[in-house]
């Protein structure tokens, strides 16, 4: 006995589809005992109506024509369960996104809706009850990325007693926040609020910290991910190194200083920065003399702890995790290619705001004194250019970096505090100061710190008599402006972190068109990634400031705790299953399976057939297509069901 429910979705569907007519047509289809149109099927009364019809007419399977299953499939499964039916005896038809919203003509849209319902009715006749299994969830979480998002998520998860492994690509945790001087809008010292958290990570009993490490391979799925973590060789024994930095002092090989945004040089063997956690040196082989044909062994000779080991090799650690938090942060947009009129990076005194942040910082290359890179002079006139590689269609980057306005205002304030007789000019498009106390902060930069805000884009930057001329428009005055500045700071946009796309592929989650990792639903599932058990924290999901990052990290942690505190997880029954009496043992399924979910099974009579490892199967269905005798099929998507559907469409 089959029930069909046509949702009106207020007027979302009923404005274009005559839901009453669809219900009437459904009532005449084979096997249909009940058909009705409901205003909001997902609402409480809507779900109650389904329950009532199931009881009254003894329905055993349901077709619901409403919105996308991505929206409410889980809702209706629960409704069926409450009504006493197997939750998988339900088929959803999308007559909203795939019908009412994309058609204008009521007659045609109604006809299409009837066709879609007929297809589902045919299909559900071949449905069989499915039972999800239960698997024990591994009580350990992996956090990828040791910036403020990863740190906060790791601390929050471990606070619930769940062990955490924190993997960080670089030699120290801290991420981009560790590079900042002060934070808006309170002007807290960034290190002062971050460093204690970094130390807490290191000292926490439940947190295992792996630096210089990256995710190599991901297998399995929610509840039991098997993840290989590659710990890159640093030629330094982390246990022995005390962080005394003698090696760094004596090392003769220069290497770029990543922490100081390339403003100065570091050494081939170095400690990332003085507050690094863990405070150990690491050697970058590409810059080391010994690894480039030289004979130098200075660091090994001089190390008082005997921690330097040139023979150290990469180590791959395999672990099981119940859930994963991606917190890979952001990268900086390389403006030099798209803005040739800004000098292509050839003028040393045109720097990015990330570099300026290091000039402001007491732990930076200048010890917190603002000195311009070209001649070390103290700048008097500083020009800030907002939205470089943000909100700029011509550079192919329409997105807002969401923090540029605020940190530019902050840097203007700090400039005035460092050099009281300096003058800041800020070229902006709009000041976006939507957060709590943000507008007041920007106002303060203007009024108390005398920063001059010029609304308009900058067209050109060029040197003239030891200064840099910044030419732009002032759209409020309707005039051209020319500022002679000693230093120009570009607020370069934010991009996805380098390597984020590759990680997303390994985790089987999606990235949006700007390269940031995509959340499952922008409003209702903002920290869940497309793959179950993978959560997003911080700027890996999109540019955001520290308060929003910390809030999202907390939310991701709460999701992980909620998932793993149940102890066991219900597995989806929508996995492939082999009918051994039909299997020819050709193993084409195993050849094509991207997840290694097919194994050999020897039956009692000696026949060798394929077997699905359900915990690894993700229900993609590739094996179904490859199987010549049709012995392997996806539960809920069997050939019989698809054929029934096809025949109905083609009828």
């Amino acid at each position: 006995m089959l029930g069909v429910f046509i949702c009106q979705c207020g007027t979302n569907i009923s404005a274009t589809v005559d839901t009453g007519a669809v219900a009437a047509a459904a009532a005449g289809m084979r096997g249909v005992a009940h058909a009705e149109s409901i205003q909001y099927t997902c609402s409480d009364p809507g779900q109650a109506a389904i329950g009532a019809a199931v009881r009254e007419k003894r329905l055993d399977r349901i077709v619901i024509a409403a919105c996308s299953p991505r929206m409410h499939e889980a809702t209706f499964r629960r409704a069926l369960e409450r009504a006493g039916l197997n939750p998988y005896m339900m088929e959803m038809v999308n007559i909203r996104e795939q019908c009412s919203w994309i058609h204008a003509d009521t007659g045609e849209a109604t006809m299409k809706a009837v066709d879609l319902v007929r297809k589902a009715v045919a299909r559900i006749r071949a449905h069989v009850p499915l039972q999800g299994g239960k698997t024990a969830a591994v009580r350990r979480a992996l956090v990828i990325g040791g910036g403020i998002a990863g740190i906060r998520a790791a601390l929050d998860i471990s606070a619930a007693g769940i062990p955490v492994t924190l993997v960080e690509k670089s030699p120290s945790i801290g991420g981009n926040m560790a590079r900042l001087d002060k934070t808006f809008p309170t002007l807290d010292c960034s290190s002062c609020i971050l460093t204690p958290l970094m130390v807490e990570i290191k000292q926490h009993d439940h947190i295992e910290l792996m630096t210089n490490a990256e995710v190599d391979d991901v297998r399995g799925l929610v509840g039991d991910f098997q993840i290989d973590i590659r710990r890159r060789s640093t030629c330094v024994d982390e246990e022995k190194c005390t962080g005394c930095m003698i090696c760094q002092e004596k090392c003769p090989a220069p290497a770029p200083d990543d922490f100081n945004a390339g403003l100065c040089q570091s050494k081939a063997i170095s400690v990332a920065f003085p507050q690094a956690v863990p405070l150990v040196a690491s050697l970058r082989k590409q810059y080391c003399r010994r690894f480039n044909g030289g004979k130098c062994r200075l660091c090994q000779k001089l190390c008082p702890a005997g921690a330097v080991d040139y023979g150290q090799e990469d180590e791959v650690v395999s672990r099981s995790f119940g859930a994963v938090v991606a917190a890979t942060g952001y990268g900086h947009y390389d403006w030099t290619g798209s803005y040739p009129t800004f000098g292509k990076g050839l003028y040393p005194d045109v720097i990015t705001s990330a570099q300026y942040e290091r000039l402001l910082s007491a732990s930076g290359p200048t010890g917190g004194l603002i000195r311009r890179p070209s001649d070390g002079a103290e700048p008097r006139q500083v020009a800030f250019v907002s939205c470089v590689g943000s909100r700029d269609e011509s550079a192919g980057r329409p997105q807002c970096c969401s923090v540029g306005c605020m940190y530019t205002a902050k840097q203007a304030i700090l400039t005035k505090e460092h050099i009281p007789d300096s003058q800041s000019y800020i070229f902006y498009i709009d000041m976006r100061a939507g957060g709590k106390n943000y507008e007041e902060f920007v106002r303060r930069a203007q009024t108390r710190y005398g920063a001059i805000f010029i609304r308009g884009r900058v067209g050109r930057i060029f040197p003239r008599r030891g200064k840099l001329v910044v030419m732009g428009t002032d759209t409020l005055a309707g005039d051209q402006v020319e500022i002679e500045a000693d230093l120009v700071v570009l607020a370069a946009g934010l991009t996805a972190a380098p390597g984020a796309g590759e990680l997303a592929r390994k985790l089987n989650i999606a990235c949006d068109e700007t390269g940031f990792m995509a959340e499952e639903h922008p409003k209702l599932r903002p920290v869940e990634a497309a793959a179950a058990g993978v959560f997003l924290a911080g700027a890996c999901q999109g540019p955001k400031d520290i308060p929003a990052t910390v809030a999202q990290a907390g939310a991701a942690a709460a999701k992980v705790i909620g998932l793993l505190s149940r102890g066991e997880l219900e597995t989806s029954p929508m996995v492939s299953a082999v009918n051994p009496s039909r299997c020819a043992g050709c193993f084409k399924c195993r050849d094509v399976c991207p997840f290694g979910a097919i194994d050999k099974d020897r039956l009692a009579d000696g026949l060798v057939t394929a077997r699905v490892i359900e915990s690894l199967c993700r229900g993609c269905g590739i094996c179904n297509a490859a199987c010549p005798p049709g012995a392997i099929s996806l539960n809920g998507y069997t050939d019989k069901q698809l054929l029934a559907e096809l025949v109905e469409v083609l009828r």
Binding site: R582, C586, V592, P594, P628, P629, G630, D639, K640, L643
Partner: protein
């Protein structure tokens, strides 16, 4: 080809059985034979009637070590079976036979009468005064043979590469007629052809790559992709499923068409499909290249169009 017998005898020292041919006294042509002992091997022959693709027996002998006399085209089937994991390379000992091209025994019988000894002198097939040009009764696949030498073999027998018969300048016979047909005519053509199909599945049984055998999907009841009735549309559908399952796997050995008792020109379908696969993917089954289907890597989202 007398040197074949000692080679088989030698091979029997290291394999359980050698697949080859012996003369059939009744039909006057060679038929497949399994040689288990050196004494049995004395009956081995290799002539222009050894058309059978013996690779068809290999998957079901996968637990034995098997020697097999293989023509160039048969070797492609063996290579494909190895690539698909149905046969282990270490489990087969391939005796590569240099092939002069095989004749269509049915055509020969039509000329000379059934059961007559069909002897093949170079160039001509002569018998009791009648003479036919060899090209006239060669199997279609042998004209313009692309693989006179086996792609894999452990030992060879016979003179290397007698010149392969030249490919016909243009399709002849049924192929010529088919190429000239309109789409509607082709539909009618296939309907007529498959109206003769008796669903004996000889095509499937003769095909070395139809490894499913008894569990074949075209005999399955759920779902019944192709009904079991002996009627044209259902038989046609069944054959199209078989052809589809051979996409990128068919080595063009022509055994299905040779085995068909009602003479349906099945190779018209398979040749077309093989051409499409080769054109699209630059891939011929039975070679060393990895099948295109298996080059898909879920973790790599850039598809190399050039490949």
């Amino acid at each position: 080809m007398e040197e074949l017998i000692p080679i088989i005898k030698k091979a029997l020292e290291q394999v359980d059985v050698v697949l080859g041919w012996a003369q059939s006294p009744a039909a006057g042509v060679a038929v497949p034979a399994f040689f288990h002992t050196p004494a049995e091997a004395d009956a081995a022959v290799f002539d222009s009637t050894c058309a059978h693709n013996l690779a068809v027996y290999l998957p079901r002998l996968a637990d034995k070590k098997v020697g097999i006399v293989a023509k160039g085209c048969d070797a492609r089937s063996i290579a494909q079976l190895i690539a698909e994991g149905a046969v282990k390379r270490s489990g087969v000992f391939v005796i590569g036979a240099s092939c002069p091209g095989m004749i269509d025994v049915k055509k020969a019988w039509r000329c000379f009468g059934f059961g007559k000894q069909v002897c093949d002198a170079a160039g001509k097939v002569a018998m009791e005064g009648k003479t036919v040009a060899r090209e006239e009764i060669l199997l279609w696949k042998c004209r313009g043979c692309r693989d006179p030498e086996p792609v894999i073999c452990d030992v060879t027998v016979g003179e290397a590469s007698s010149e392969a018969p030249a490919p016909p300048a243009e399709p002849a016979g049924i192929r010529k007629r088919f190429a000239a047909m309109t789409v509607a005519e082709r539909r009618q053509f296939w309907q007529d052809q498959f109206s003769r199909c008796i669903r004996c599945y000889a095509c499937r049984e003769a095909c070395p790559l139809c490894v499913c055998r008894d569990v074949c999907t075209i005999q399955a009841h759920e779902p019944g992709w192709a009904g079991a009735a002996v009627d044209s549309p259902q038989s046609w559908m069944a054959q199209l499923i078989r052809v589809n399952h051979l996409a990128g796997r068919c080595t063009g050995c022509e055994e299905c068409e040779r085995a068909c008792p009602v003479g349906i020109p099945l190779m018209l379908l398979l040749e077309e499909q093989n051409d499409v696969v080769e054109e699209l993917f630059g891939y011929r089954a039975g070679g060393e290249a990895k099948p295109p289907f298996l080059t898909f890597d879920i973790k790599n989202d850039t598809w190399d169009e050039e490949r």
